[in-house]
């Protein structure tokens, strides 16, 4: 027995717990809590000619909340995130359902296959989309080749941003719904049919509510990052497609107004948090079909 293992055996239960959890706690503290705390602190400071000035004030928040353009950006971001997440859910459901029902032994492969574009990195993927949606991109070239007029306004529009984000997050949502369906007992549908439900009715009465949690998780996994999206709208969104995350990003680079950026970050954090909270209220674990939820009384 190694001395390390002998030492481990001498530890009490609580000491062992400490040894196992300490690295995680340390990691989270160092790379999550500290940055988050500093953002919060900086958001109450002021920046002037690329210098942080440490006088405490609320001006950044007043700016973020009253400046019409920021409000527009935020509204646009929320709307974009909503459209993106709903589209993702709507697309992911049939994909996941098909894979589960007809994927056979290739199920896992098919789901992993969906994530293949991830291997190329975000920038390359966005640029590839530019190649498809651009003014002389694949789509328009195809249309012109067929003698049809090209889409004037496809690239550098809000639609392009939505398409880009859906493309980006679809694999997450599909995986979430896939995993949910993997644990779903499809024989329940036999029972529903015997007891009077047609196919559609059985879906809405049984399949949908029992996979609601997975769907909501998929939704949240898309909504939160879409809300803060900055790279995709910057490449695809065009001049009038500025989103909140993009505006926030520029505070830290182009304009050098870090404290305003920090305040925007805090606001974004709260909007995302509020959304997650609202979403969590939509889940009734007792009605999720999770065994163990609720328990015996």
């Amino acid at each position: 027995m190694s001395p390390l293992f002998q030492g481990w055996l001498k530890l009490s239960e609580s000491q062992r717990f400490l040894v196992v959890t300490a690295p995680v706690v340390l990691f989270l503290a160092l790379f999550f809590l500290v940055p988050l705390g500093s953002i919060l602190v900086v958001s109450f400071w002021r920046t002037e000619s690329y210098q942080l000035i440490t006088d405490w004030n609320l001006q950044n928040y007043i700016d973020v909340l009253t400046e019409p353009s920021y409000r527009t950006f935020m509204l646009r971001s929320v709307l974009t995130a909503l459209i993106v997440s709903l589209s993702c859910v709507a697309l992911a459901w049939p994909i996941a359902y098909f894979v589960i029902r007809h994927g056979g032994r290739y199920k896992l492969l098919l789901v992993v296959g969906l994530a293949v574009p991830f291997l190329t990195g975000i920038v390359l993927r966005v640029i590839a989309l530019q190649g498809v949606l651009g003014p002389i991109g694949l789509l328009n070239m195809g249309l012109m080749h067929l003698g049809l007029p090209p889409f004037e306004a496809l690239m550098y529009t809000k639609t392009a941003t939505v398409v880009g984000l859906v493309y980006l997050y679809l694999p997450f949502v599909t995986t979430a719904i896939y995993l949910s369906l993997l644990n779903f007992n499809f024989r329940l549908l036999d029972a529903a049919k015997v007891f009077g439900a047609g196919n559609m009715r059985a879906f809405w009465e049984i399949t949908w509510p029992l996979n609601w949690v997975g769907t909501v998780i998929g939704f949240a996994l898309t909504f939160v990052p879409s809300l803060a999206a900055s790279i995709t709208p910057r490449f695809l969104g065009g001049a009038d497609g500025t989103l909140f995350g993009m505006a926030m990003g520029s505070q830290f680079s182009a304009t050098g107004t870090w404290s305003l950026g920090a305040a925007m970050g805090v606001v974004l954090f709260f909007v995302a948090g509020l959304t997650l909270f609202t979403i969590s209220r939509l889940i009734d674990l007792k009605r999720s079909g999770f065994t163990g939820a609720g328990g015996r009384d």
């Binding site: 024989r187 036999d190 015997v194 439900a197 079909g289 065994t291 163990g292 015996r296 009384d297």
Partner: protein, 356 residues
């Protein structure tokens, strides 16, 4: 005939699950489909339910051809082996589900649910979710969901397989009593012959996609029509060997023993055959009795089963024969020499198929 299955076949790809099945069930009958796993009995039930479509043939319920109808237009209900209660609904909501699908009005529905809860003692559990119930309680809810819409036929797919022994016995009695109360046919799929024998009026023995016999349960048990039934229903000793002429009728030469067959095989010229005798028809006594016509052996072990015991006897020749009897009635100990006998008329004899 209330429920009729006419010449039904079902193939899945190249696999034939059922071929040429005919079955007619009366309105107040409790029928078991008894067979080993993979025999096609569950497929047959799913065909009656409408969860599968027959490749050929017809299903008629109450005179109506329902072959092309979806499950919910057939007026059937089903109880599943793993219950398949809707986990996101309470007991009450589970019971309400079939009524909701029928668009029954609220008051009538509540009345039905109350009736159902009363006969199944579920009233106290109405607001629980399935995962808060024990296996037996879930079983009762599954049964209730089957009965609540007053179906024309109730189909039960091994509904007791997941319950423990004691509960199973109670449920057997309950299920039988509901069937009598409601006066509708219950079609009960099981691989457990005790269940089939204790509950049913009639038993259809299913094997390899066909029905071997469909008859009163006592007939199936006492007079097996085929070799398969003789093997599958009840527990029997089997004697297989060449057939020879004996002083009276014929006999099987079995490992140096001569098994007299009485009147059996008189009209057959089979050269070899198998004779089955139920273990409870195999009588055992101490060796000091008159040995004529009996088989001698040595008691190897006694397995006590509660109300009766099984006697494992090694006969002279090395083979093993089992006899069962009430324990106290037979005063023999392991190692004792014993004699085995039976009523020749109780033997079920099947000529062996001649190997081509």
């Amino acid at each position: 005939m209330y429920l009729q299955i006419k010449d039904v076949s079902k193939t899945f790809g190249t696999f034939t699950a059922l071929s040429g099945v005919d079955l007619s069930i009366e309105k107040n009958e409790f029928v078991s489909l008894l067979g080993p796993s993979g025999s096609g009995k569950s497929t047959l039930l799913r065909l009656i339910a409408g969860l599968e479509q027959p490749t050929t043939g017809q299903v008629l319920i109450d005179g109506q051809d329902v072959t092309a109808l979806p499950p919910y237009q057939r007026g059937i209900a089903m109880v599943f082996q793993d219950f398949l209660l809707f986990p996101h609904m309470t007991v009450r909501e589970n019971l309400l589900f079939p009524l909701r699908m029928l668009r029954m009005n609220r008051d009538d529905a509540e009345e039905r649910i109350d009736w159902c809860c009363r006969i199944l003692s579920l009233t106290a559990l109405k607001d629980r979710f399935p995962n808060q119930l024990s296996g037996g309680q879930q079983q009762r809810v599954a049964l209730g969901r089957g009965l609540v819409c007053r179906p024309k036929v109730l189909l039960l797919d091994e509904p007791l397989a997941n319950l423990d022994r004691e509960l199973r016995r109670d449920m057997e009695i309950e299920i039988r009593s509901y069937q009598i109360q409601l006066g509708i046919p219950f079609v009960y799929v099981t691989h457990n012959q005790e269940e089939a024998l204790s509950m049913s009026d009639k038993i259809a023995v299913v094997n390899k996609g066909g029905i071997e016999d469909f008859a009163e349960k006592s007939a199936v048990y006492d007079r097996p029509k085929t070799r398969f039934i003789a093997q599958f229903v009840g527990r029997s000793n089997v004697f297989t060997g060449p057939v020879e002429a004996a002083t009276e009728g014929k006999a099987i030469q079995w490992h140096g023993q001569r098994i007299a067959l009485g009147q059996a095989l008189n009209d057959s010229n089979a050269s070899s055959a198998s004779a089955y005798i139920k273990i409870e028809d195999t009588l055992i006594e101490a060796a000091n009795a008159n040995p004529s016509g009996k088989i001698a052996g040595t008691l190897r072990d006694v397995i006590f089963r509660g109300q009766y015991a099984e006697y494992l006897v090694t006969v002279d020749g090395g083979q093993e024969v089992v006899a069962s009897s009430i324990d106290s009635a037979t005063r023999v100990k392991p190692g004792d020499p014993v004699l085995l006998s039976w009523d020749t008329a109780k033997l079920d004899v099947f000529p062996d198929e001649v190997a081509a």
